[in-house]
């Protein structure tokens, strides 16, 4: 069995992200999508509906009368928020747990993923990007490759650390050298096998901008920026730390200044309660 076959075998054994996620994404980013469209999709997934209602009724949103249906939830929180809750839920089971190779304790990767998604949403709004739900979900699941690669990283930890600490490799470059594939590429493989849209596969694959040509793609660069900001904020960051490359060119292409970065960080600082509410999803 080649190492690629072994990865494919492992992907086949993962529990995929619920199908409802992709159906939701297919309509949510369309400007003419209605509440009826969203409700119709969600009604076939009772688990997602229950989780959305539970979060919607949590103290954070402070609504007076508990929502009893998707329709109630949309009336109270708006269609965007309900879609966001449903999308956030989609990553919860896959990204929870511990990931020892990256030094991530219980729930830390999930925390990082939620933080990335919340920041990506803010970045998308600031840049006026249309596919905000796709960007939110792409940012949420961009590190999905780590859920397989972490075991391999664990067994090669000393070697990777030497490469990063003594030979000026980024963590991603070290993964690629040691395993022939890095976590972003492996994540894209998973997304492909789970039939995610080509756009999301591309964003996941290039979220560290290892391929310089991708800095021009605004959606890729937006998720890259969200990821960089989350690394700076440290929330749920593992033993790979901040050992990834910063691409100033991506900021310039997005016309993002250092002040913008500070403002996005400040906005996140104000929204910690929202992140905590999303983290309670299962």
């Amino acid at each position: 069995m080649t190492s690629l076959d072994r990865f494919i075998d492992e992907i086949n054994r993962l529990t995929p992200i619920p199908a409802v996620t992709q159906q939701l994404l297919a309509v949510a980013d369309k400007p003419d999508s209605s509440m009826a469209d969203i409700a119709r999709i969600m009604q076939y997934d009772p688990v997602i509906t229950a989780e959305v209602l539970k979060t919607c009724n949590s103290a954070y949103y402070g609504i007076k009368h508990p929502a009893e249906s998707v329709k109630d939830a949309v009336n109270m929180l708006g269609i965007d928020k309900v879609v966001e809750l449903a999308l956030a839920h989609s990553g919860a089971s896959a990204l929870s747990g511990t990931h020892e190779g990256y030094g991530l304790e219980q729930g830390e990767m999930w925390k990082y993923s939620i933080a990335s998604a919340v920041v990506a949403k803010d970045v998308a709004a600031r840049l006026g990007l249309k596919n905000k739900n796709t960007l939110f979900t792409s940012a949420l699941i961009k590190d999905i490759g780590k859920i397989i690669l972490h075991k391999y990283v664990l067994s090669a930890r000393e070697k990777i650390d030497r490469m990063v600490n003594e030979k000026a490799f980024s963590f991603l470059e070290a993964e690629k050298t040691v395993f022939g594939i890095h976590h972003a590429e492996l994540g894209a493989m998973i997304a492909k096998m789970w039939h995610f849209s080509p756009r999301m596969i591309k964003i996941i694959r290039h979220h560290h901008l290892a391929d310089e040509a991708m800095v021009k793609d605004k959606e890729v660069a937006a998720v890259y920026l969200a990821d960089s900001i989350c690394m700076m904020m440290g929330i749920g960051v593992g033993s790979d730390g901040l050992a990834y490359r910063f691409k100033k060119q991506a900021m310039e292409n997005l016309k993002i200044t250092a002040t913008d970065v500070s403002l996005i960080i400040a906005e996140f600082g104000m929204n910690m309660a929202e992140v905590e509410a999303l983290l309670k999803m299962r």
Binding site: M232, G234, V237, L242, A258, I265, M272
Partner: protein, 159 residues
């Protein structure tokens, strides 16, 4: 008791049973102060150098910024009996992404903002673990003033 200091947050304590901790600093700064005579300690976890980028947010969350958070940390410690001339200072965090130079380097700017405030107020740092590409967690025992730093992936080490 373990007192956890969140992001953009601060706590001081004179309870010798307390241990104060802040997780995952990244480019943020964890500023730890301790007066060994009064056994008063405090920890501030700030995210950004200057509050002038958004005064309204700074009014609601002053611990988010160096310039609004640092004076409040010291004042809170003085209120518990700490004295400026006895206070020991430890600084951690301010990490950076690889190749993150210039104005985009929030970690370095956070550290410079802190140094500027300390210089103006004639305060010296005793020890520090800043910069690099690592994520740090900092803990202090109020009874002894002992400080421990954990970088993710390795164990906790006494400063």
């Amino acid at each position: 008791m373990k007192q956890i200091i969140g992001v953009a947050d601060m706590k001081v304590s004179d309870n010798v049973q307390d241990t104060i901790v802040t997780y995952s600093l990244g480019s943020c700064i964890g500023l730890v102060i301790y007066d060994p005579a009064a056994r008063v300690g405090g920890l501030l976890h700030f995210m950004l150098p200057e509050s002038k980028i958004d005064r309204e947010k700074a009014a609601r969350k002053p611990y988010m910024f160096a310039d609004t958070g640092i004076p409040r940390l010291f004042r809170a410690a003085y209120e518990l009996g700490a004295k400026k001339q006895r206070i020991k200072i430890f600084v951690a965090g301010g990490a950076e992404i690889l190749d993150q130079k210039g104005f985009f380097n929030i970690g370095k700017r956070n550290y410079m903002a802190l140094k500027k405030i300390f210089m103006k107020n004639r305060v010296l740092i005793d020890k520090e673990q800043v910069g690099g590409n690592v994520n740090r967690t900092v803990r202090m025992d109020i009874q002894t003033g002992d400080i421990f730093v954990k970088t993710s992936g390795s164990g906790e080490v006494k400063v």
